[in-house]
């Protein structure tokens, strides 16, 4: 039977809508789940998705994508990447899979909520494909690391991490619960599809894809390219909603949603992308620094999408531009110093040539963060390993859930406020602003330090903390990725100096 071209039937099919007779519109689309308060009923049918696809086309394309990724994996399985790749690269895989795979499955629930609760028929249709995308991303990113579990138990975290109370998990879960799982359909789409996916999945998936290929990990490169091609499509779900809000006098509300989600995404990705890009990727295959990736994918490209919509840069733009040169360096020092709390083995990334690279990319690094590394290196070179892990915990931000870090003697500062008798700490003025904008949303959550001080973690010592976070339970905690081989150069320098 001859098939009609998609363009001949699509507009009629996707606009299919009905008028409820037995329930009210608000019962069919409860405002707390559907969102879009204040938008007139007639605008929903005008939602015009920028990317149109039929189910037949979708299935065909996705089958080809899966075939491509799985066949590359099958072909390269015997190449023994695990034993041949730089250990820093293997750490990137461990960090990535555990932080991303199960979250992708959560994203399928996000999209399925759009399928049911969105008042725009075009969005419900497109979100159906988004939901299938995310199921695929969850499955494929659990399947690929499974190959490594028998070689290295830290890969168990790929599946288990999101079900633990590891501090990195708490940060990721707090973020994704906030932007992806607990808001109405309209807000979620702007928070998660527009602000998070448009900018930051590009950073992680395209940025790391180039590094992966150069590092010889064509399986991972192909995998994340395949995923990103889906992300680039369903990330567009939020754009028509923004247009509808702006055209109906809700520009300020839309801007605030972007301002909150953009900062929260950025801070999480200082750990997920920033640290690996500047410290774990082997120096000879690094494509660009985190700051350069941020400038290309976020400062230039994401800002262009905002300008196209007539929206502004977030109010904290100057803070953000300074932050991309410093925050992730503090998080690298923190994750490395408290490495037993990680599910991966962090690479230090501070051998003499790597320090030269850091100084070139971030002028002043040696005189600030480098000075802290000097102390760590002095301890390593003199075999004082016990002095390289602090005997206390860092203070953690009640919004980002990340340690409060800053440039030594320059920008490090605890920002706090007392709300209804409880003191909250923040890693930046922006995190504090996010809290103050909606304290009811955030005030009940307890970060790792709140739990420690509140007696939730027993025994109240490092051993108790590690067990609480799943270290030694799910899989072993972290240690230097290269077995401290990089310290030899410094040890020789020390011996030469007498």
């Amino acid at each position: 039977m001859a098939l009609l071209e998609r363009a001949q039937w699509y507009d009629i099919a996707r606009s299919t809508e009905w008028t409820p007779r037995y329930v009210t519109q608000d019962e069919l689309f409860p405002p707390e789940l559907s969102g879009g308060e204040g938008l007139p009923d007639e605008v929903w049918s005008t939602y015009d998705e920028p990317y149109k696809v039929s189910y037949r086309e979708y299935v065909d394309i996705q089958r080809q994508k899966d075939a491509g990724a799985y066949s590359v994996k099958a072909a390269l399985e015997r190449a023994d990447l695990y034993n041949k790749a730089d250990p820093g690269w293997i750490s990137i895989l461990k960090e990535h899979y555990a932080a991303v795979a199960v979250v992708e499955y959560g994203a399928s629930f996000q999209e399925s909520r759009f399928v049911r609760w969105s008042k725009a028929p075009g969005m419900r249709n497109m979100a159906t494909f988004g939901m299938l995308d995310e199921i695929r991303h969850g499955q494929i990113q659990l399947y690929f690391p499974h190959e490594y579990v028998s070689k290295d138990r830290q890969f168990e975290w790929s599946h288990a991490a999101m079900f633990t109370d590891n501090w990195v998990t708490l940060g990721a879960r707090h973020f994704f619960d906030d932007v992806m799982m607990t808001r109405d359909a309209v807000s979620t789409s702007i928070f998660a599809n527009f602000a998070f996916e448009t900018g930051f999945t590009n950073l992680q998936f395209i940025g790391l894809s180039g590094d992966a290929a150069k590092a010889g990990d064509f399986t991972f490169s192909k995998l994340i390219q395949s995923i990103q091609s889906d992300e680039a499509r369903h990330a567009q779900l939020g754009t028509p909603l923004l247009q509808m809000m702006i055209e109906n006098g809700q520009r300020e509300k839309a801007q605030k949603m972007i301002d909150i989600s953009f900062w929260r995404s950025y801070r999480l990705f200082t750990v997920l992308s920033g640290i690996p890009m500047d410290y774990y990727v082997p120096l000879d295959v690094r494509e660009a620094s985190f700051k350069e990736f941020m400038e290309e994918w976020i400062v230039t490209q994401f800002m262009r999408s905002l300008e196209d919509l007539g929206l502004s840069k977030p109010w904290y733009w100057d803070i953000f531009l300074r932050d991309i040169s410093e925050h992730h360096h503090g998080q690298q020092l923190g994750t490395y110093s408290w490495r037993p709390t990680l599910w991966w083995n962090p690479a230090a990334g501070v051998s003499p040539p790597e320090r030269d690279w850091l100084e070139e990319k971030y002028p002043g690094w040696n005189d600030t963060f480098g000075k802290v590394w000097d102390v760590l290196i002095d301890n390593f070179a003199n075999d004082r390993i016990d002095r390289t892990v602090p005997g206390t915990l860092p203070v953690i931000c009640n919004v980002s859930q990340l340690p409060i870090v800053g440039t030594p003697s320059q920008t490090l500062r605890d920002i706090s406020l007392v709300h209804e008798g409880r003191r909250y700490h923040f890693a930046s003025e922006v995190d504090k602003w996010i809290f103050e904008d909606d304290p009811e949303r955030y005030r009940h959550h307890k970060n790792l330090i709140d739990r420690f001080l509140g007696g939730d973690i027993q025994p109240a010592d490092l051993g108790g903390v590690l067990e609480y976070m799943g270290l030694g339970v799910v899989g072993p905690g972290g240690d230097d990725a290269h077995g401290l081989a990089w310290v030899e150069t410094y040890r020789k320098q020390l011996a030469k100096a007498g």
Binding site: L333, K371, V372, V375, P394, I404, D414
Partner: protein, 84 residues
């Protein structure tokens, strides 16, 4: 006597650290306790110089023999420790 957790900002460090102290500790004792998590861990020692404690953002340090209880510091408030 009561255990009071403070937030410790040690000059030269990159991170705010949790510092459990006793309400009867003097500020010299507080500085010494903070130093155990920082000096020789993330910041080099500066022999011959004295460590002082002030509330984060304050101009003047606390008296060296004044106590945590006298300072009025509340749980998890942030203090700065620096070489004088």
């Amino acid at each position: 006597m009561a255990l009071i957790p403070l937030a410790s900002h040690f000059d030269g460090d990159f991170v705010i650290k949790l510092l459990p102290v006793d309400s009867e500790n003097t500020m010299d004792e507080v500085a010494a306790a903070a130093a155990t998590n920082v000096i020789g861990v993330h910041v080099f020692d500066q022999p011959g110089r004295t460590l002082r404690v002030r509330k984060q953002g304050a101009d003047a340090p606390y008296g060296r023999s004044s106590t945590v209880a006298e300072s009025g510091l509340e749980p998890t408030e942030c203090i700065e420790i620096y070489f004088e």
